[in-house]
């Protein structure tokens, strides 16, 4: 197990480095980075000052060195608009996004897993077809449109739920649904196919040959094995949700990091944009690593070997 973990940590580190390089290169190589790094409406003198400050005339690798070291120090720039360090800003908004993501994930698993299991057990019959339609709709309806429709129905027409902001459970319902919708369909699909694979396996066959009741065959032998890929995906999806929630948070004015990104774009506050992307990507790499490690702990094949 140790070797496995060390290898995974290594991969994660490489990914983080590559991520920073990618972001760095894209900014430095496309047009004049000084324009981005300076506040909108700055003068030529300001631009020159930025050139100096960031050493934009130095060779690329020197610039990268500066960039990387400031990242490691936790300095991700200052927001023009809020006049605070971006990292602080990001961390203050992160809990809201996590709350939203957790709610959306719960929704997606509660809907997705049972539907997927039933679709697999009753494969190709009515429930499975309904499931397939649900999956298709989940993938085809953009989350922000779902959000807008929800507002239309539940805020404008019915007046039941508030259309924006946060603070109460009522505020959480619609954004969580809009965000979780796509993932519910994805989780259902994966559960179904994973379950089908497991149901066709030899050990399930043997379980039936042992004369075990069908409920035990499915509930014990099939279920645990089928869930592994789904939970792995769910773990990673949680962090992805935080990142792609940008549109949903914008629609509902939910004060999370997604909305922060939107503000960054709207106010041309580039440090915010850059930092959000870096932090978002880093989070995903780290969570991937954690999920891999968790896998190592759960699956006895990995835990007890190597």
């Amino acid at each position: 197990m140790k070797r496995y973990i060390v290898k995974r940590v290594g991969y994660a580190l490489v990914s983080l480095v590559l991520l920073s390089i990618t972001i760095f290169l894209f900014v430095r190589l496309t047009g004049d980075p000084a324009v981005l790094l300076v506040e909108p409406g700055a003068s030529q003198a300001d631009l020159d000052a930025i050139h100096q400050q960031f050493g934009l005339d130095r060779p690329l690798w020197v610039q990268y060195g500066r960039f990387a070291s400031s990242l490691l120090r936790g300095d991700l720039g200052h927001s023009f608009y809020y006049r605070t360090p971006v990292l602080e800003l990001y961390l203050s908004r992160l809990p809201s996004s996590l709350l939203l993501a957790a709610a959306a994930m719960t929704f997606s698993l509660v809907i997705g897993i049972p539907t997927g299991i039933i679709a697999a057990v009753r494969v190709n019959r009515w429930w499975d077809s309904a499931g397939k339609i649900f999956a298709l709709l989940g993938l085809s309806l953009p989350s922000f449109w779902v959000g807008l429709l929800l507002i239309l129905f539940f805020s404008v027409y019915l007046g039941w739920l508030p259309s924006s902001g946060s603070g109460t459970a009522a505020h959480l319902v619609m954004p969580a649904f809009a965000l979780g919708w796509y993932f519910a369909a994805a989780h259902m699909r994966l559960t179904r196919s994973s379950m089908l694979d497991v149901l066709g396996s030899e050990y399930v066959k043997l379980a039936r040959l042992k004369g075990l009741p069908e409920a035990l065959v499915i509930g014990k032998h099939a279920f645990k094995n089928a869930l592994i890929p789904v939970l792995t995906l769910a773990g990673i999806n949680l962090v992805i949700m935080v990142n792609v929630a940008v549109v949903v948070e914008t629609v509902f004015a939910w004060p999370g990091v997604g909305r922060l990104l939107y503000e960054g774009i709207a106010f041309r506050d580039f440090p915010v944009v850059q930092a959000t992307v870096i932090l978002g990507g880093a989070m995903i790499v780290i969570v991937n690593l954690l999920v891999d490690i968790l896998y190592a702990l759960i699956d006895p094949r990995i835990r007890l070997d190597r």
């Binding site: 085809s140 807008l148 259309s163 549109v247």
Partner: protein, 294 residues
Amino acid sequence: MNGSRSATLTVAWRLATFRSEGFPTIPLAILGLLLFVAVFANVLAPHDPEVGRLGERFHPPFWQQGGSETYLLGTDHLGRDVLSRLLFGARVSIVVGFTAVIVAGIIGTALGILSGYLGGWVDQVIMRFTDTWLALPALTFAIFLAAVVGPSEMNIVIILVVVYWTRYARVIRGEVLSLKERDFVRLAIVAGCSKWTIMKRHILPNVLNSAIVLGTLMLGVVVVTEAALSFLGVGVPPPKPAWGLMLADGKKGLMAGYWWLTVLPGCCIMLMVLSANLLGDWLRVKLDPQLRQL
């Protein structure tokens, strides 16, 4: 022996019952319609999509109170005809969508083949980058790039290509890796064919199926991403009519109950994506049953 028999039977039986040959006439018809509309928007649209008459703001569709026959599907906050904007929006979605998917497909497939077949450091370099880019959600990455280079229709296509080629590369590389072990490739190597010849004549045709299926499925994803970008204001810039942009405008009228500005553009997006997905699903089953992993 017993195990592989029942596995084969399971796959065969699953395939046979999947929508039994349902040729996707409706999805194809819808996509065809969208293509037609995109090409002939100038002729079909009753009004100029970019110029509006401020006196005619917020007309509802013709079947509602206050609607009129001049503006069949109503007008938006600048008095622009919704129907015309939808038609021209189709053009944007189709052009951006197809271009991005095809170019990303070409690049991704080429790199996937190189990476998978040549192996070694080429593979490592390409794969590390692919993994990193795949780690970053497409939307976030696209927003970042749009913020860096500034929004324009051309830039959006480039951004989408940059973000999505990795999906192809990953999948194609996987296919190439298993193709490499197949006998006909080994025979070609033994016969002394050059690497380029093998990649061109043996590998490429065999991965084309996957690339096509993936392309169809990616069309939906790309269209949604473009709509999201436009919605956020970093996609196709106004006053050009993009469906995502219409949704952003529509949000302004949402609380007042101007439903058509939100529902109609969204329906268009949904129809296009749904059709692409259905077509992709059908192609996947038709072209190669083993691709059900996609």
